[in-house]
Symmetry: D2
Subunit: 413 residues, 4 copies
């Protein structure tokens, strides 16, 4: 069976255009954008000030004008009709600059949420939210993770949705809700337990709702290694008697995990390819540092184990990228469900590999490597969170192992 | 040759007393102290406010009252006369809470600086600064690292000191100067290049000076993974025509490295034992989490590879501690110079081991592990910096290897 | 650029046919063949007895009859015209049984030697040796490695060839000459130093010669972890005034390294893909063992870290295979020279990965895993030698690092 | 609590004497001894020929004469009364040469078996076997491991002993019975299942018996990576209606595991310290090789990552030795049972560390490293078996983890 993991003629010009716009426009703007954080009248790091909005809107308008928009919509006539493999190469480029994915309307959690609405939403859902999300007018949040529940076993999630007449009433806490602090975040996709007595995988349902529904409270931003990641952020939220209409339900009662699975496949690959983009960037920094800084009268790249370190980073990036492309190829050809073991593989490999490469790059930079003068520490902390996001490593290794063992047994594993 | 690495009868009661005071007094105060950061009229995170000073002064007075003070003074009649091995056990305890070392007047960089003054300082130096440091009235900074110089080869340091009549004139930049932001920091030990034409190891000299000498400017706090570590902090400083008297010179012109070496031996062991204390704390947290959190109907400690992870952490902590104690024992018996290979060994091992243990503990905690709700991320970032502090891993491995090879050759290695 | 790493329609039936013949014919014969070692009148483990020849000849005749022959000849009209990628999949299959590669006339060192003769040999060379090698009538050896010379720097090789009238006179020792003990080995490709004063890479020349030339002495078989690998073996040889004709020279004086490089590219990929085949076999054994053996009332596959171990093996095999296929693809598209960094990468990765997987499989089998009752120990030792063969890991990492650094500098690295 | 891990005045002269005798007498004899293997009239590699016996007996007589005998008898007035810590240093020395431990009557499995007889044997047992074992006249075997049973869970062992009148009747197979092939092996300690219906840890009993009892058949030597380890060897045995007297029972019915545990503690430490001795020898070889062999005009020790490799080996040896000494110290002070977690720790650490060091030493030696010209491959294979012997790594990690978790819970773990 053919397995073309290369850059196609179709995607090559898009890669070039994305790379050019990142280098020339987004990287410089990115710095100013982040320097502006907190510079608004209320001193609120999560409020975007006028200059930030101007930067973002300008870049997004330009991207749209150039036709660099919504690449991730692989299966829809609203997008380019790229394959997941093709998109993966674009995701790698976008990984190299924090602001890039949003500029091209390809950022998490919006892409996953749009995918949910596109695939499982009603016409009303689509009309109300999908169009504006696709246009980049609003942003969204995916409200799933809860405090006090082991993220390795989401069947334990206890945030509750109870039917009350024509409405659902939501109660409970959620945290690590990325993007929920952004003032432009207008819609939530929410996982809630609708029947705690049901079978493990039928207890939960998925809902879509307005972000400004009464009863929703943002308690605080969660910190990642002490950073609040403003203005995007990861919020700790409380829902108190939040009432949403009956048709907020997506796909059907008890089908929350089905929606979640469909959502997670592509998103994991996007995350992983962006991680690989960051690893490439770190390796480039490592090499350049190694060639310009000297010790004992020699370039440090040539000292000690540094050749081995650089070579190992190159080999591990190559392998992780190929594995990620294969997972994307599987998604394109056999579908999310069958591609699951490969998606789990790359979900383990890419974050581990990229944190390791960034860690080596930090070490090659000396103390400067962990300071604000280099982007490496920020890359490290954001990559480190990927080892929890969408399931910790251990859960994915378990999936891979069980798929492997099932080749040799019909018994339940 | 006897090599007693155990807890002696002399130090056991001190360990007990230190542990008791940390648990009962310092841990609770630590939280309040850090919550107060930035709560002063000028909104300056590096200014201590009244409540912070009250907390600190209260704890220090209590420690002094209980006779838990200046343990690190191993060879002096001003201290307990503990061996380095004995002190190492105390350092491990103090590593378990950020504020602890300072409360017992055992914190870096003061201990190293006091050691310099005690060992190499003139009577005037001692009178002016050592007594107050020993009393915990003032704090100090060690001003060595420079931007743009590879930390693996300090002979390249170019911050300059020029003789001008009866004075030395200092010019240049320094960074990662820990504690220089603390308003109580009154004295600097400064490494400067006094003769760039001299032999590699004779170019530099060490000076001691008042922190408020005109011409010294604190540019900014360096950030560690985005954190400023206020109020202690790591400062980027500029010296512009800073004039200090001739007798600020320590030990003699061109003997800067000699002073630095004498200073670094014990300090590295203190750092390492505190790192081991943090690793112990992380392992304890990992076990408790594994016993209280469940997934798939089982305690997570019993799932997957977690037994192996816990066991590996235990084994690596045990081994690192023993190696550290052996290095301390070598210092006690054969002196800093001969103990150098062991000190280099532990300088590599302890930070690597402890970052790894903390990383596993974070993973066992799920997303919470990297958040502000647990101390793990803060432990991680502070331990990660140890892989640069006092020389990066590569330099210490090089030292260990050369010592090993010299057993078999008389040629220069 | 397209990068199809999949199984093509062209090669799929060949894979099926090879797999079928290995499973049905070669695996059973392999056991008998190896049990016969040493069962000849002279008790010489390197002499093939009648039964061994019968087995081998029978299998080879059958393979030839089925058209399963000389797949490796990628660029020639004498072969299938497979791409290196296509061949790689066949090499993986052949790696799963020790005898397989030879049965299909695809075994080292013959393939590399045939490649040398095909590419650089004169018509006489081809007529005399290539045809018979392609027919599987004779075998060959590649006589390069020398005792007392670091294999990381082959420019030091000192085995000498001196012109004497119309002849070259060879003197010196060689070792690890694989296959030279096989009685059917009729031809040697020999690297010799022809001008020790020339530039590092022009000192050596390559020769082709009859194996039964007077003066060639086989001293002993080298042992690999105590095994002589009979009847193939790795010989220690001495050449004493061995005279060969002037036209034994290949390509030209001083061009030995050029020939060696051309020879090594494809060979390394073959080795690596066979290694991956062995890793796949080991993983299969590990899973089956884990499903059938119990401890504490549970299948051992489900105990402790075994899920993680199985998952890691699967992921590392996947990644190594993809990297190997990419290296093959580069060879197919940009040529051996440009593909060099990828070939070096896979030369490091595949042996390390496969020894690790086999080691885990041994551990999962308990003591039996290292015994004669399982093939794992034999697989381990043969894979371990690959970390020396054709250059040790360190040399290949160096190549990879230098290629990486050259992207950012024009200076010599 | 004091923890003296150093070399005491008592053991220092013994270390010196052992080292001297190994260097001057045993190392040279060792080579001749092993070269003689198989040189006996029947071509049986497991029969000792006259020259072998002469070598062995000569060395043993000399050792006895010098008072270098039975050091391991830590608690008895028949030995030196060394502590386990003191003995550990001697074991390390003896690990450096294969024949050494036997020469000083300190080799496995005899020491463990003597310990069993000394501690649990009746006066008759002692008289019949212990005295001759202590004198080095006979050797012994420990008959525990069985085919088809996962070594991680010995409660599954099914080799059976049935009471029949005044006798026990033994039936079943055992394998990996080290030393049972040695013609001087006169006594077996045998673990057998006496009550399959009893509680997991009460099913088995321990017996002592003459090796030449009718019905015992040695089927074949097990091979370790293809080597039979003659003449010591590891035998696969079959017992068919083997009748032994009632008083062959040790300690009592159902107390087999109790005996096994008492036996295994010290033995594991001996194994581990010998492994550390081998690692030291490998590191020495690695350094010497690195200093004498050149590539690219430099000593290979100074190239690439070799400094790091040497340093890592040194650090890991140091740490493993200290951990082993601590385990020995715990045995000396709190007893085998309480020392169990430390013994499990060192049982995991020492074999892994020493195989790794030897593997690096092989790599530094190039192909020669795995050949018969260097002892490294033999060291590797014998160390690799330690990861199975007396329980695989996974079982020991499990023990360590459970001990750790029990600090924080009273529930069953």
């Amino acid at each position: 069976m053919s397995m073309d993991l290369g850059v196609t003629k179709k995607v090559q010009p898009l890669i070039d255009a994305v790379r050019k716009m990142i280098d020339e426009d987004i990287v410089p703007a990115n710095e100013e954008y982040h320097a502006e954080i907190g510079n608004n009248p209320e001193h609120d790091r999560f409020k975007l000030n006028d200059r930030q909005l101007e930067i973002l809107d300008g870049l997004k308008a330009e991207a749209k004008k150039r036709g660099l928009w919504n690449f991730w919509l692989t299966d829809s006539d609203r997008g380019y009709g790229l394959t997941t493999v093709e998109y993966a190469y674009l995701a790698e480029e976008m990984g190299k600059c924090p602001l890039a994915a949003e500029v091209f309307n390809c950022s998490a959690p919006d892409t996953g949420n749009m995918e949910v609405l596109e695939r499982y939403g009603t016409d009303e859902h689509k009309e109300k939210w999908l169009t504006r999300l696709l246009d980049g007018e609003i942003r969204s949040a995916y409200v799933m993770t809860e405090p006090n529940v082991s993220s390795s076993d989401p069947t334990q999630l206890s945030f509750e949705a109870k039917k009350d007449g024509d409405e659902w009433v939501l109660n409970g806490e959620k945290w690590w809700i990325s993007g929920a602090g952004d003032p432009r975040c207008a819609v939530y996709i929410v996982m809630a337990c609708t029947d705690p007595e049901a079978h493990r995988h039928s207890r939960h349902s998925m809902f879509v709702m307005d972000a400004d529904t009464p009863g929703v409270e943002i308690i605080r931003p969660m910190q990642v290694f002490g950073n609040d990641d403003a203005p995007h952020g990861h919020m700790h939220m409380r829902f108190k008697d939040v009432r949403i209409p009956a048709d907020a339900l997506i796909l059907g009662e008890g089908r929350g995990f089905e929606v979640a699975q469909g959502r997670l496949g592509p998103g994991r690959i996007h995350h992983c390819m962006r991680a690989i983009g960051q690893a490439e960037r770190a390796l480039e920094m490592m090499c350049k540092r190694g060639l310009t800084r000297e010790a004992f009268g020699k370039k440090i790249a040539t000292l000690g184990a540094n050749y081995d370190i650089i070579a190992n980073c190159r080999m591990e990036i190559e392998m992780a990228r190929l594995l990620c492309l294969k997972a994307a190829h599987m998604m394109d050809t056999v579908g999310v469900r069958e591609a699951q073991p490969w998606i789990s593989q790359i979900k383990v490999v890419a974050p581990l590999m990229s944190t390791k490469v960034v860690d080596e790059a930090m070490q090659m930079h000396g103390g400067e490597g962990i300071s604000q003068d280099q982007p490496l520490a920020g890359m490290y902390t954001s990559l480190r969170t990927l080892r929890f996001a969408d399931g910790p490593d251990a859960v994915h290794r378990r999936q891979v192992a069980r798929a492997e063992l099932r080749k040799y047994t019909n018994e339940k594993i």
